[in-house]
Every structure is written in structure tokens, then in C-alpha cells.
């Protein structure tokens, strides 16, 4: 059994007087609506987190993100490539159908089908075998220690319901004739049942009276409303029209705290924000340096890293709601290298390094940034521009809306950047994910390093990453992860900035839990006081 580090630090709890259990309606607002109720259509935090109150996976994650039994009561590794899951008996879907192995097989087939966005969650599986009604074996293509790590959000659907309602295929936007029932209706095993769904306006749910587990909430109804405009979202919180509104812009935290009856709940998110250097090209696309790529010189990368005052960015731009980062993963991610310190702010040393590298007068380079994706992303980049200006590097900031930004810098845009910002949350909460996606050498054949936009490459890290995947002894595995992070750190391969802060605005009438992965679990809410 893999053990996930408990993330108590990230889970802030406010518990006020527990109220009497009368008719308690929870109202909350987020900035965008869930795209679909179809649990296999979009692998995105808010959508999956929302659906997690209605659907369940074989495993579950508690408020500290520790793996717990979910629809599977227990599991064991029979042989390195064969995992056996014992399913929970007596669980029914919201429509009354019993849950069994058939539904797991169905949900697996659905998750790997066309138009499903869950393929990566069930990747590396060769075969799913139904042993009996409540036992399922998963045969993997290679030994692995983290097979079910993302299965808390691989949700199980009812085969009979899906077949009866023409929802066997995943909601498919490319097929004009598919109007998928599962897009607007839901039938899970989870603690809440959807009773009304008006996209972009309102989604209403009530507790599932037959839920298999005892849950601490005292709700009789949940009403979710998306509110796109941040000032309106805050107004709705201040007027008491919603109990919870998120995200709250960092500059409005004081306003929410100052208001009687509301408070801001803040904590570090698991997402790490970093800058990356193009090290793949012989000459940078957007720079004054000709005939050479300065970022291939470790001294230039070191100079950039030492020129950034991460504490100042945290205090000024992020208003104290971020944690300076030394590596590509956050505390709470398995394999977090707590032995590394963020690179020291030392502009003098940075200037010396730059001079040693042959750029005593600095050079010009363009920085690509999103302006509506991460918390205060553009402002962070502006601070970086100013700090690099202090060591003589002239950075031109190119800030774009996210669809333009990602279309430019990612693979489909041909990695069209020299210097860029990106954020990453490993969905498995394990270091293998960023090592494979962000740090390993790019290889279009295997998909390795697809998001290694700068094309950083280190043979030893590639070897280690492959070993980490196959290693089944946890201690050895964690040592391999630590070694990989140390190499990246010493190589100044990236420029980690911070873990951005989460900010939720909460009414003092409600007690709830803010999970470090920014997921809102309704079962932990109590209203009244």
C-alpha cells in the first residue's frame, strides 16, 4: 500500500458552533460552471471535485488527501503486475441499482473510449478481469506502485442506467447527433443526488438517504451557482446570498475579513508556479543573442534563479498567500524534497554569473505569460521582469489570455517560446508525474516530457524516472525521487517560483474544510450556529 503524506498544513479547518440539524441549505458560488455532469468528459479540478460529491471512485481521498477505501473496501498486489480490488457490497446507485464488478468494467471501458478525458487516469492497464461480482483484477503492463493514485476521480457509473439512457458513450462535442443524457443528469453512488441542473444558472442536489457511509454534514440541500465576475461573487458573499464564494482575488481578502459575518480562508495550493527556459534550440527565437542559446549555460540559468526575490513576490504580489518554492512540487506531494531551500536572492552573484557566462551587459529575451490562468500571474511576471532588469537582462513581457497562451507555448504551438511561465499540480499527488511530464527529455513517441516546454534534458533524470515508475519498494523509490530533484536543483533546470495561495470567502454560519487540491467536499459542511 502506498502511503501518501498527510497534508494537514494545507487543509485549514474552521469549526464554529455546530448548529441544530433543521432544514439547512448550502449555497455556494464558484467562478465557472462545471462543464458537464458526465464524469468522464473533462479532467479538470473543479469539474471533477464537484462530481466527486455525486459520483465515487474505487478509492477515496480524505481531507488531508490520504488515500482511503472508496467503492473498493480493500486491495492487494497479487503479483507485481496484478492488483486485486475487493468491492464494497450493499452499495446502490441513486436510482436503486446495486453496484458491482460489472459497473467497474463498464466504467473502465467508458474511461478509455473515444471522447473520454480520463484515459491517463487508467493508463498502463492491460486488462480488467472480473473475478466475481465483488472482485476485480487489474493487470498492468508494467509493475507500478501508484496504480490507483488517481482513481479517487475515476468515477464509477452504473452500466444499466447508462445503457437505458443512451449514455454508454462519453459526451462527445464532435458528434452533432450526440445529446448525451449523462451530460445533464447524474446517477452515482455518492453522498449527494442531483435534482436540478440548469447549466450556467443553478445545480441543486439533496443528500443521498441510502449513502453507505456516515458523513458529518447537516445539509438538506445544496444549491450551486456560478458567478463569473469577481466583485459580484464577493458581493453575493457579503450579502449572505451564498455561504461560500471562491476564488477570492487576493486584494479582496481584507475586505472579506473586515466584513462582519464573513472570513477569508487561505492556504497554499498544491500547484507549483515556475518559469522555464528554452534549452532545446541552438538559438533562442525571441532574444537579442544570436548564434547561441544562453539558457544552455548553467551560469545563466543560475543567474536568473538568484536574481529573483521570491519572498518579495510572495509578500507584494501574492499578498502573503504563497509559499516560495525550491522544486517543482509542493509540500504534500509524495517525494517533496524538504531538504532543498529556495535559491537565495543574490543579485550581485547573479550579475557575476552572467558576466562569467559572457553577458556582462545582459541580453534581451521575451517572457510568455498567461494573464487569466493562475493567481496574479501577469503581476508575478511583471515582478520577474523588474528583478531581471536589475541584473541587466531586458525582458519583454508577452501576456496573453490562456487559450492564446497555451496554444502558443505547448506542443501544438510548436513550443513557440524562449522563456515562459507554467503551473502544474500532479494529479496523482506523486513526484513521478512532474518528473515524467515536465522534467524528462521530450519524446513524442512515448509522450514523455510533453509539457517539458523548454526541452530540458538530463540523462540521469531520465533513467531515474523510468526506475521510479517500476520500483515497488517505497523507501527505494523515494530515494530515487529525492536524487532526481537534487539533480534538477543543482542543474538550475527550471526557475521554481511559488505555490500559489488559495482564497475562499466563507460565511461564519458555515463550517467547512478547504482541501489543498482546491476541491470542495460538501460532506464536511455544517450550517448554522
Amino acid at each position: 500500500m502506498p502511503k501518501t503524506t498527510a497534508i494537514l498544513a494545507g487543509a485549514a479547518v474552521i469549526a464554529l458552533a455546530a448548529g441544530a440539524s433543521s432544514a439547512e441549505t448550502l449555497r455556494f458560488a464558484f467562478q465557472a460552471d462545471v462543464n458537464s455532469l458526465d464524469p468522464h468528459s473533462l479532467n479538470e479540478t473543479f469539474t471533477l471535485g464537484f462530481q466527486g460529491n455525486i459520483y465515487e471512485g474505487l478509492i477515496d481521498r480524505d481531507q488531508t488527501l490520504t488515500i482511503q477505501p472508496g467503492l473498493a473496501e480493500s486491495w492487494e498486489i497479487l503479483e507485481p503486475t496484478r492488483w486485486r480490488f475487493h468491492l464494497r457490497q450493499g452499495v446502490t446507485f441513486h436510482n436503486g441499482n446495486p453496484f458491482n464488478a460489472d459497473d467497474v468494467l463498464f466504467s473502465y471501458e467508458r474511461a478509455i473510449s473515444e471522447a473520454s478525458d480520463m484515459v491517463t487516469k487508467v493508463a498502463g492497464i492491460e486488462e480488467v478481469v472480473r473475478v466475481d461480482d465483488y472482485t476485480v483484477d487489474f493487470v498492468t503492463t508494467a509493475p507500478t506502485l501508484i496504480l490507483p493514485a488517481e482513481w479517487d476521480t475515476w468515477y464509477i457509473m452504473d452500466r444499466e442506467w447508462s445503457e437505458a439512457n443512451d449514455a454508454v458513450a462519453v459526451t462527445n462535442i464532435a458528434d452533432i447527433n450526440s445529446t448525451n443524457f449523462a451530460n445533464l443528469n447524474a446517477n452515482g453512488t455518492g453522498p449527494f443526488m442531483v435534482t436540478e441542473r440548469v447549466p450556467d444558472v443553478r445545480t441543486v442536489a439533496v443528500p443521498n438517504p441510502d449513502y453507505w457511509r456516515d458523513v458529518p454534514h447537516n445539509l438538506t440541500e445544496v444549491i450551486y451557482t456560478p458567478i463569473a465576475s469577481a466583485p459580484t461573487r464577493i458581493a453575493a458573499l457579503l450579502t449572505g446570498e451564498v455561504h461560500l464564494a471562491y476564488p477570492i482575488p487576493l486584494q479582496d481578502i481584507d475586505r472579506v475579513d473586515a466584513n462582519e459575518g464573513t472570513m477569508a480562508l487561505t492556504g497554499p495550493e498544491l500547484r507549483t508556479i515556475f518559469l522555464g527556459f528554452d534549452q532545446a534550440r541552438d538559438e533562442l527565437l525571441y532574444s537579442s543573442v544570436e548564434g547561441a542559446n544562453p539558457f544552455r549555460d548553467i551560469r545563466v540559468r543560475a543567474a536568473f534563479n538568484h536574481a529573483i526575490n521570491r519572498d518579495a513576490i510572495g509578500q507584494v504580489v501574492m499578498r502573503g498567500a504563497s509559499t516560495p518554492a525550491a522544486s517543482m512540487v509542493a509540500p504534500g506531494i509524495n517525494g517533496f524534497p524538504d531538504f532543498l531551500e529556495p535559491y537565495a536572492y543574490d543579485p550581485d552573484r547573479a550579475r557575476e554569473l552572467l558576466a562569467e557566462a559572457g553577458y556582462p551587459d545582459g541580453f534581451e529575451v521575451r517572457l510568455n505569460c498567461p494573464n487569466d490562468r493562475y493567481v496574479n500571474d501577469e503581476a508575478t511576471c511583471q515582478a520577474v521582469v523588474a528583478m531581471l532588469g536589475q541584473i541587466g537582462v531586458t525582458v519583454t513581457l508577452q501576456a496573453d489570455t490562456r487559450s492564446v497562451f497555451f496554444g502558443t507555448i505547448l506542443a501544438q504551438g510548436g513550443y513557440d517560446t524562449s522563456f515562459y511561465m507554467l503551473g502544474w499540480t500532479p494529479s496523482s499527488f506523486d513526484s513521478y508525474n512532474p518528473l515524467f511530464n515536465l522534467v524528462s527529455t521530450r519524446d513524442p513517441e512515448t509522450g514523455r516530457g510533453t509539457f517539458n516546454v523548454g526541452g530540458y534534458s538530463n540523462e540521469r533524470i531520465d533513467v531515474l524516472t523510468a526506475q521510479i515508475l517500476a520500483e515497488t519498494d517505497e523507501t527505494t523509490r523515494n530515494a530515487l525521487i529525492a536524487e532526481a530533484w537534487q539533480i534538477l536543483y543543482d542543474d538550475y533546470g527550471y526557475l521554481p517560483l511559488h505555490q500559489q495561495g488559495l482564497a475562499w470567502g466563507v460565511s461564519e454560519d458555515a463550517s467547512l474544510v478547504q482541501r489543498a487540491d482546491n476541491v470542495f467536499d460538501w460532506t464536511l459542511v455544517r450550517i448554522g450556529g
Binding site: A235, T239, S403, V404
Partner: protein, 368 residues
């Protein structure tokens, strides 16, 4: 007559095609929709496959021709964000926008004409002056939330210098605020005053709605009516000040004409002259402008709807732009173009009916 209508219809179709072409070519600049439609870890092959299935890799003329071909059949595709047919989504959202547009148009007309008449006539009544100035100082104080009161105070001070007609000019100056303040700022101010500080009205949404044969209405529930007030005012304020200024200037014009002088000479009551004769003759251009502005109200509801999370087509469009939901964006733009084309066509036909000169076959052609 028939030739005129046919010519106008052909021109309308060309306009629609031009709008479709321009908006479609702009979509290349709004970014790549794929990243919003898949998760972080989705592989490049899967993304590429999705692009292929959506036809986004086809050359521009092919995509455009396909869009026009489907649009003629009334099909606008499936929303990338909501995975539902666009026509269905727009049909669901349209009642919200139309009701909001109706309320703000009525508000703008009634208050705008009232204030227009008042500022044109109201130079004598001292009591009226005091009541109105008090009302406007109060309004200015409410706006003081962000210091607009300073602006209002300066305007009041300036108008004091021209004592003779200071109520009228105060209203006129305040109407300048209405014209120049950005809609989103007015909306946020109203929310903070009437929802957050006073707690009288809801800050967002449509309240409870009743569905009658597919048309959702907020007119039949108390919360639905309450929810209409703030967005209605926000959206109507600009039109209000426009109509007020129009009525005032038209009215001043009419009051100077000979037949008004003649009416006074005959000894008719002020009431009969002002409302029976002057106002009636003032309203002709007002009706024309209001008709044309109705299209703008629907089109410019975008900002008001975003501020108030009003679930109409404007909010749908804004979210579609952020998401690069091309089918929704193109359908919305076509719909707005259609509204304007129809309004213009109707106005043209009305002119044709009203103005006999247009009926004479013109050598040069040319539109209005």
C-alpha cells in the same frame, strides 16, 4: 415596392455573410479551444485527434463554407463548453435577455421622457427644484461609494453659478455621468449600494423563474421581479440619458415654433399646449431612436449580464469568448447581426411607407 424589398433583402443577406466572414476570421485570433476542453495530462495525440474530429485542422475556406452550410439549415453545431446544440442553448437563454431588455427599455422611456419634459419646461417651480435637487444630492451621496459624489458636487457648484436654471442643468450634468460612466462600474455601484449596504435587492441572478412553454419568465415571482430592478436600471441608464437629452432638445425646439405661440395666443392651458401639442410632436424622432436602440440594448446587455450573472445570451457569449467556444460565438454574432438587419429592414420599409419621395424611382439608388 417589390423591387425595393427584394433589393433590401439581398443587401441584408450580404450584410449577414459579411458579418459571418469577419467574425469567423477573427476566431483564429482568440486562441486554441482544445486546451480548455481537455485536462492537463491529456496527451498530444489525443489533443490532435480532437482537433481533427472538430475539423479545426481544415483550411479556413472549408471551415467557413461548412459553417455557412450548416447555418442555412439552422444548425450552429455543438457548444465546445457545454456539449449541447447551440440553438437549444440560445433558445433557453434568450428569454432572460429579452425580459431584461424590455424592462430597461420601458424604464429608459418612461423616466427619460419624464425627465426630458421636466428639464425642458421646469424652470419656474421652486418646490420642484428643491425636491429634485435633494433627490439628486441623495443619489450623488449614494454614488459617493467611490467618490462620484465629488464629481457631482463639482457639477452642482458649477450649476450654482448659473442659478437661473440650475435644476435643469443639474439633471443635464448628471445625465452626462449616465452617458460616460462605464456600465460595469454603474452595475457594481448599484450592487454595493442596494445589495451589500442596504440589503434591499439581490446581487446576482434572475431569482425564481416560472417556465411557460419553454419561455422562462421572472415577471411572475417576487424574487424574479426584484432581480430585474438593478440590471434593468444598469442597462437602461445610458438609453435613459440619451432619450432625456433628445426629448429636451426636441421639446425646446418645438416650443419655439409658431403653432405653439399661436396656441398660447388662443389662450389654451399650459397643460394642453405642453402635452397635447408640443410633446406629441416631440415623440416622432424619439420613437425612431428607441426602436433602433432596442437592438443595442440586446447587444450591449453583455456587460450588464456579466456583472449581474444574468443568465442571458450576453453572458453566454462572454464565457464563450473566454473558452474559445467557436460555435456559440458565431451563432451569437449571427443572431445579433440578424436582429440589426431586421430592425433596419423594418425601419427602411416604414420610411418607404411614410415618405412618398422614396416611392419615386430613383436614378442613383443608394440606401439610407
Amino acid at each position: 415596392m417589390a423591387a425595393f424589398i427584394v433589393r433590401r433583402l439581398v443587401q441584408s443577406i450580404i450584410v449577414m455573410l459579411a458579418v459571418a466572414f469577419v467574425s469567423f476570421s477573427l476566431f483564429t485570433y482568440v486562441g486554441d479551444p482544445i486546451n480548455n476542453m481537455v485536462g492537463q495530462e491529456t496527451t498530444m495525440e489525443q489533443r490532435e485527434e480532437l482537433r481533427e474530429r472538430l475539423g479545426l485542422n481544415d483550411p479556413f475556406p472549408v471551415q467557413f463554407a461548412r459553417f455557412i452550410g450548416n447555418a442555412i439549415q439552422g444548425e450552429f453545431g455543438i457548444s465546445y463548453r457545454m456539449a449541447r446544440p447551440v440553438e437549444q442553448i440560445i433558445a433557453e437563454r434568450l428569454p432572460a435577455t429579452l425580459e431584461l431588455a424590455f424592462v430597461s427599455a420601458v424604464f429608459a422611456l418612461v423616466v427619460g421622457i419624464g425627465l426630458g419634459i421636466y428639464t425642458a419646461l421646469g424652470r419656474e417651480s421652486v418646490a420642484g427644484r428643491l425636491v429634485l435637487s435633494a433627490a439628486f444630492v441623495a443619489t450623488a451621496a449614494l454614488f459617493s461609494w467611490i467618490g462620484a459624489a465629488i464629481v457631482a458636487a463639482v457639477m452642482l457648484a458649477v450649476t450654482f453659478l448659473y442659478r437661473g436654471k440650475w435644476v435643469g442643468s443639474t439633471i443635464m450634468s448628471l445625465s452626462l455621468i449616465g452617458v460616460s460612466l462605464p456600465t460595469f462600474l454603474i452595475g457594481i455601484l448599484l450592487i454595493y449600494v442596494f445589495a451589500v449596504e442596504l440589503g434591499w435587492l439581490p446581487s446576482f441572478g434572475r431569482g425564481e423563474v416560472v417556465s411557460i412553454g419553454g419561455w422562462t419568465t421572472g415577471f411572475l415571482t417576487p424574487s424574479g421581479l426584484q432581480a430585474l430592478i438593478l440590471p434593468g436600471i444598469t442597462l437602461g441608464l445610458f438609453q435613459l440619458t440619451l432619450i432625456m437629452r433628445l426629448v429636451r432638445s426636441e421639446m425646446l425646439e418645438v416650443l419655439r415654433t409658431d403653432y405653439i405661440k399661436f396656441a398660447r395666443a388662443r389662450g389654451l392651458t399650459n397643460r394642453a399646449i405642453n402635452f397635447g401639442h408640443a410633446l406629441k410632436n416631440t415623440l416622432v424622432p424619439v420613437i425612431t431612436i428607441t426602436g433602433l436602440q432596442l437592438g443595442s440594448i440586446i447587444a450591449f446587455a453583455i456587460i450588464t449580464e456579466t456583472v449581474f450573472q444574468w443568465p442571458g445570451v450576453g453572458l453566454l457569449f462572454i464565457i464563450a469568448v473566454q473558452f474559445v467556444d467557436i460555435p456559440v460565438m458565431s451563432a451569437y454574432l449571427m443572431m445579433i447581426a440578424f436582429v440589426f438587419v431586421v430592425i433596419n429592414l423594418v425601419v427602411d420599409l416604414l420610411y418607404y411607407a411614410v415618405d412618398p419621395r422614396l416611392r419615386v424611382e430613383r436614378a442613383g439608388g443608394g440606401g439610407h
